[in-house]
Symmetry: D2
Subunit: 138 residues, 4 copies
């Protein structure tokens, strides 16, 4: 399956005096894209509904980003998201951000599945596994 | 020299419905701490003055964070910052965030020195090297 | 002319532990909507292009917001924007945010037109007036 | 009693390409100052503890801000906060932001007291009234 793509409108307020997006805002873009991925595969349910309706949390334990070129408001930011590893209780995402096909950043994000109420590790619900597996590259 | 320590007041608005700081806000904490480190070693000059008064930019090319335990507003967040590698045109920082001595996150951040006007790589000003070297562990 | 409408995806990270959008994020939603309005009437040019390409700034001198009902990620936030007053050097916008047709907030925002380079007041460019006037209610 | 004063470190990431703080960030400064006021009068308890430990919410129903002069990272931002009106179920705050004694913004903020669990209006706890009354100007 092709990676899911989420488009972000970059704006003036995201930029710093160097006229490019402030680095501190870029992880937030990637996280929005991961949330949009969940909404895409779970019929509109993102982290908010996963936590409150499914009682499943997915807190981050790791993130790593390489910044390849500055992001500006002169083009939409296309973020492609795909799960690249699915463990018993963890999931790893790759997120690549591009403007006009040029790569702006590449990132890896690792989350654990938790019972939201007790904040303890759990295995992913099987309904999640079913929608995630097609995205995993063989 | 001991690492520089910067204290952050974590607040309600930084937290998400899981009652802990939203992951997307944590890189911003670490960046604030790095900016405060610059202010500490450059007599009050942070990124704003470095860019506008020194004509020196330090854009990020990489960041990597491990999240060890959730952050809440129940304690101050102490961020210790130290440069751990100084190349010809790059600098790497380690930032460790702790609440009540417990580690919340550990991160590595790599920046390049640029001429701010032309956005091209340059070597660090010698005034910067002088204040950075004492922090580098032998 | 009907007000311009801008849709915002509300997410988990915008919410606080009360499970609703943190108040501090709401003015930013309204500002995004005003920026999108400019992009709509100026062929894609928002504040970034207005400042850098047109040399026109529109700094805010006033904002006022009434919060009518909490915002959550359970629906898109539709922000309708229209200029309601156009002075010699100022413009006032009304922004109304709604989820599922229910009003979440109503706001008024006053900006002045400036020469971006000198940060001094100026009259709005005639190209701006031409596209703004149709939105003004008689 | 003199107004409570809360100091904010303005940084690079808060600024936009006009080299001044982005307007969308200013309400958040004022809210941080109000939260710090609560921490000051309630022995360290801000909105987080009020909601989770006292079961008292104070959602905003109105905010109004006049922006008097641009904010930059060249000085600390001193925010003075005082309650100016205390109704049966509401409280109004005045927040004034200054850099080097020059006024940057003046704002009014109205909150209602709620039972946090049921999100319904309530009167303020008497422990709150006791610490608020000395700040109210006769």
């Amino acid at each position: 399956m092709t990676p899911f793509e989420h488009e972000i409108s970059v704006t003036w307020g995201d930029c710093d005096p160097a006229k490019i997006v402030y680095t501190g805002n870029i992880p937030g873009y990637a996280l929005s894209a991961i949330n949009a991925f969940w909404e895409h595969v779970l019929d509109g349910d993102g982290w908010y509904q996963m936590e409150l309706d499914w009682n499943v949390g997915t807190p981050f334990v790791h993130m790593s980003l390489d910044f390849r070129s500055p992001i500006t408001p002169r083009a939409k930011l296309a973020c492609s998201v795909r799960p690249i590893r699915l463990g018993n209780t963890t999931i790893e995402f790759e997120v690549i951000g591009r403007q006009d096909r040029l790569c702006n950043f590449e990132g890896r994000f690792v989350c654990v599945f938790t019972d939201a109420t007790t904040f303890t590790k759990r295995t992913a619900p099987s309904a999640f596994l079913d929608v995630l597996r097609p995205y995993l590259v063989k």
